[in-house]
């Protein structure tokens, strides 16, 4: 995929290409081929929560940056 075209089509120019999501628990970038999960914070629905495969497997706590709710 061309980073350039992504830059051209998005309204806000992306400085470093397509942004990779980061795990809400461990802050590690989640690559597209990894089996992470994404959902809106169950409590407030305002923040997108990402969990990497490892944190999901270990049951690591995630905390919503908007409302402070802690899961799982």
């Amino acid at each position: 995929m061309s980073t350039q075209s992504a830059q051209q089509t998005s309204r806000q120019p992306t400085m470093f290409g397509i942004e990779v999501p980061r795990c809400t628990s461990c802050n590690r970038p989640i690559s597209p081929d990894e089996k992470g999960v994404r959902f809106l914070c169950p409590n407030c629905g305002q923040a997108e929560i990402w969990r990497c495969e490892k944190c999901r497997k270990l049951g690591n706590t995630w905390r919503c940056p908007v409302c402070g709710f802690e899961g799982p």
Binding site: P42, N43, P72
Partner: protein, 214 residues
Amino acid sequence: MSREGVAPVPEGEFLVPIEKYMFAGVRLGTRVSNAYLEKRGFIFAVRHDGLRIFDLRKIDERIRIAAKMIARYDPSKVVAVSAKPYGWRPVEMFCKFTGCRPIIGRFIPGTFTNPRASYYIEADLLVVTDPKVDTQAITEAAQLGIPVVALVDTDTPFQFIDLMIPCNNKGRRSLALIYWLLAKLVLIERGLLKPGEDLPVPPEEFETRLREIE
């Protein structure tokens, strides 16, 4: 009925009167200790016979939060599963009222992962009755990155669960009440029921009848 261990709370603070929760036994865990749930403040006490007692406030709070989460998804892509018989009717009734898709009994491998299979279901959210037995559903949700909401008892594994509802997930009445509350709150979230309104049937209608599973 014993209200032992429950601090006095103002009327209306819980989703149902405390007596109703107590009668259904929602806070009765197992004798299996669970450091994971303890650390998260889900366990209220350990009874003299070793039974773990869940914190009723946490149960109540998590039911509300789970309902909010479920209500955000297209119901046709929310799958609720129960391999064990006591969860069959609760799951079916929950799905009847919310439009979610029930899978009761055996979860056929490939249900989520094999789009060519006749039994394939596209899922955006999985609701699990007992992660200890609904392992195949969780494994496939993990493979596909489908978020998982689960009823979690003290003998329940925590792997790949994104939102836990700590509760008694083995009792007939407990499962009925939990799923009844979830159904009701999902409908309230969607604006199909007014706050304070109830489902047209009582929680008892969500209970698996003993003859159904003989």
